[in-house]
């Protein structure tokens, strides 16, 4: 009888239970002769577990009943070790066809201690074990077998997940369940030593988990888990499928936070012992869309040998808010508003993206800090890891640093991490910005790019209007030499030439550090030649000035688009031209110099003439630490300096006395003068 029982149980799936039953069977065989019996096993080894020091005691109570106790000194399953496991049964009943215990108890110090019950019916070949870990919590393992096959069901009723956490290794970065309850069942069947099918149908309520740092945590989560795995006879391939229904809850998985309900994950595929093949799997994130994926996971290397991700009609606004934004915090896209849809198809092999296809449908990108915006972007962007492709990108309108851009469509040549655009013409206000030989490259330090080009005339009135700066007349046009960006700084290699106010502007050493950073720095040396003063001052409420000037601005530095340093010198251009200045302009120039500048002119004389003649105009300003150190036509060291040197009839000379003016004060005066119709007379 004992041999029969042992051989049957060895074919079963639960080896520890088998051990216990074998122990019981051995004791029962001997119990007929000995009313008290103790058995000791020093060491039992199995590939799946190791048991040390097993002590079994049986005290016969007569009439096929008695007390039984089994103490396992140490049980080791993989890396888990439990000590002093105690199984006891006060009323153990046995017979030829059955063994049973209704009031058993299992205890593992510091882990578990709860009542258990079991029944074995040898004729029916069934085994049932029940556990009652806590009030209203229970589980049951029911096994049935015959000479060919076996099957079982584990039924779980409202088991606390908190108690399961005790069994898991305590690691700092591994999330541990802190709350939650699980119910449902897991069924399985097999032949001989082989598992053939398994299925689960579990529901988890109010799940909470967290790692120690709280960087991977969830709360109040309700899930439904369904799945199955099966294998045809004599085949090594397992077909499996699983569905996870996310009913409610919230998760923070650094840096992503997701909440809500009705998310869904479907996984299915084939497992052959060496690889897991994902087939036609999908995740549906409510509010975002459905993401399809498939691939092959190589178990020996623990790497995805292939992966394909596909999504259609994903709402970019939700994608950005829920998934992308945390990853873009330190980029120019940290705070943007996105609208429109995106489709993508990504193929990855051996951890490397082999191909990518992104399609934008009526997408708009607007920077919250108003540095840039692009509206109604439509794009088809194919990309290959090996090989060249052409992307088709268009947008209807936009602006960069407040400069508006018109509709444009570009064929972008892509070759691995190189982007090339032979030529594109961007409508800018009433002119065009022509970019040639635009090339961009992605490196370890980020994006680098360069281009050259030109600017066909755009109206200064329109440009100053959109830049919300002082209105100016004339046009702006020019040649743009090679401009490049090294990941931190935009530099112009050569001179940038512009035409404005009927004169020319040449910029040397132009650099823009961190153009999209928190405090962009612009540096340049600028030489302006032959500017028409009438055009320059014409739309200012400054007063009319006829003539031409040259302006040198050396060592110019703007921080956050505000001047912090320069050496400026404005002086009359050489040559013959009309040199007249209105009464209003004289008074305003005098006012700019502060009190005292006007002292050189007679207010009574001013009243007689509308215009005066002059020989030269000159003004100097060295800006240092918010102070403008002023000078006039000559670099005189005296306390006074000449701003306007009279010449002809009627002539006027304006002398300045105030050498130091706060930059903000100077700007305020200029803004007052140019925003009011009446000139300031101090």
């Amino acid at each position: 009888m004992s041999q029969c029982s042992i051989s049957s149980l060895r074919k079963g799936p639960i080896t520890v239970i088998s051990l216990i039953l074998i122990t019981c069977a051995l004791m029962l065989c001997a119990s007929a002769a000995f009313p008290r019996l103790a058995l000791i096993f020093d060491d039992i080894k199995h590939p799946a577990f190791e048991v040390k020091s097993v002590l079994s005691r049986f005290v016969s109570g007569g009439d096929k009943a008695g007390e039984i106790e089994i103490v396992i000194g140490e049980l080791k399953v993989q890396d888990y070790v439990w000590k002093n496991i105690r199984l006891s049964c006060g009323t153990f009943q046995y017979g030829r066809t059955a063994m049973q215990c209704e009031d058993g108890y299992v205890r593992i110090p510091e882990f578990i201690a709860f009542p258990v019950a079991f029944h074995v019916f040898f004729d029916a070949q069934t085994l049932t074990i029940k556990g009652f870990p806590a009030k209203n919590e229970s589980w049951e393992v029911a096994l049935q077998w015959n000479n060919i096959s076996w099957q079982g069901v584990v039924t779980i009723h409202d088991i606390s997940l908190d108690s399961i956490a005790k069994w898991l290794p305590d690691q700092e970065k591994v999330p541990m369940p802190g709350d939650g309850r699980v119910s449902g069942n897991v069924s399985f069947s097999g032949n001989g030593a082989d598992l053939r099918t398994a299925a689960m149908d579990l529901s988890i309520e109010k799940l909470a988990f967290s790692d120690r740092g709280g960087l991977h945590a969830g709360d109040n989560i309700s899930l439904l888990l369904k799945g199955g795995i099966n294998r045809a006879p004599h085949q090594s391939r397992w077909h499996w499928h699983s569905d996870v229904y996310w009913q409610q809850g919230e998760v923070f998985w650094q840096p992503i936070y997701m909440a809500g309900s009705d998310h869904y994950l479907n996984l299915q595929g084939i497992f052959d012992g060496e690889t897991i093949r994902l087939m036609e799997s999908a995740v549906k994130l409510n509010g975002l869309g459905v993401f399809d994926f498939s691939g092959i996971l190589d178990l020996s290397s623990k790497q995805l040998s292939t992966l394909e991700l596909k999504a259609d009609g994903v709402r970019l606004s939700a994608l950005y808010e829920q998934l992308l934004q945390p990853f873009l915090r330190n980029t120019a896209f940290a705070e943007i508003q996105l609208t429109g849809d995106v489709d993508w198809l990504v193929r990855v092999e051996d951890g490397v993206v082999q191909s990518l296809q992104i399609d934008f449908d009526e997408v708009s990108i607007v920077d919250a800090r108003n540095r840039f915006a692009f509206y109604r972007i439509n794009a088809h962007i194919p990309w290959l890891f090996e090989g060249a492709t052409v992307a088709d990108i268009s947008f209807l309108s936009g602006h960069v640093l407040s400069i508006p851009l018109g509709e444009v469509r570009v064929p972008l040549e892509l070759n691995q991490f190189d982007i090339f655009l032979p030529q594109v013409t961007l409508p800018v206000l009433d002119g065009h910005l022509k970019l040639e030989n635009f090339g961009a490259k992605y490196t370890e330090d980020g994006w680098r790019w360069k281009f050259n080009g030109g600017l066909t005339p755009i109206s200064m009135e329109a440009l100053t209007n959109v830049l919300q700066t002082q209105p100016m007349h004339g046009t702006l046009s020019g040649y743009i030499p090679e401009v490049n960006f090294d990941g931190n700084t935009v530099s112009v290699n050569g001179v940038l030439q512009l035409s404005v106010f009927d004169g020319s502007i040449v910029m040397h050493n132009l650099k823009l550090i961190e153009p999209m950073g928190l405090a962009p720095h612009l540096m340049a040396d600028i030489a302006m030649r032959n500017l028409d003063l009438e055009l320059l001052t014409g739309t200012f409420s400054f007063g009319k000035v006829e003539g031409r000037v040259d302006i040198d601005v050396q060592n110019l530095e703007l921080a956050n688009w505000v001047p912090v340093h320069f050496d400026a010198h404005l002086f009359s251009s050489s040559g013959s031209y009309s040199r007249r200045i209105s009464q209003a302009a004289i008074e305003n120039i005098s006012a700019l110099g502060g009190k005292g500048a006007v002292a050189a002119i007679q207010r009574s004389i001013l009243r007689f003439f509308e215009e005066f003649r002059y020989a030269e105009i000159g003004w100097r300003c060295k800006l240092r630490l918010n102070i403008c150190y002023m000078g006039g036509i000559d670099a005189e060291p005296e306390s006074r300096y000449t701003l306007i040197q009279g010449g002809g009839v009627p002539a006027i000379t304006v002398i300045g006395y105030n050498r130091e003016v706060g930059w903000q004060e100077l700007i305020s005066r200029l803004q007052r003068i140019t925003s009011e119709n009446e000139p300031i007379i101090q």
Binding site: G214, A217, G218, Y257, R329, N330, L518, A519, N560
Partner: protein, 141 residues
């Protein structure tokens, strides 16, 4: 909110006032520029939000003049991303502040020294109960 702002202003004043005597006489750490002003303004307006997380221990001060999420468990799940954003934005501003002060002094190469000086002072001026890093370990003040 008003108290927070006052505290922040006081903190900044003390910070800037105390730094020139730290053996860093050549650098003018009180120097101002439009960029520095706008960075300080952003940091000041953010401080009233951050102070709650300094108090709870969720965010601490690092030795290199930055802030860091120290214990996310002190913040509800829904707010953890927001705290990350605050910390990220604060660190961007702090980096920019140190860089701009170095630039305004015409010595961009002083940035790392300015950063470590600021780091030390931020910790010295932190409120009781706030957490800071010392020797790579978190310590409560």
């Amino acid at each position: 909110m008003v108290n927070c702002t006052k505290y922040y202003l006081l903190l900044l004043c003390l910070l800037f006032a105390s730094i020139p005597v730290l053996g860093y006489a050549e650098a003018d750490l009180e120097i101002n520029s439009p960029a520095i002003s706008s960075i300080k303004q952003r940091m000041q307006s953010r401080h009233s939000e951050l102070v709650e997380y300094y108090n709870s221990g969720a965010v601490g001060l690092t030795q290199d003049g930055m802030v860091m999420v120290r214990n996310a468990n002190a913040v509800s799940l829904a707010k953890r991303q927001h705290v990350n954003s605050l910390v990220s934005a604060e660190n961007q501003d702090r980096n920019a502040l140190y860089r701009e002060i170095a630039r305004a002094n015409n010595h961009p190469e002083w940035e790392s020294k300015i950063r470590s000086t600021f780091g030390e002072r931020w910790i010295n001026l932190a409120r009781s109960g706030w957490w800071y890093q010392a020797g790579g370990r978190w310590t409560q003040k």
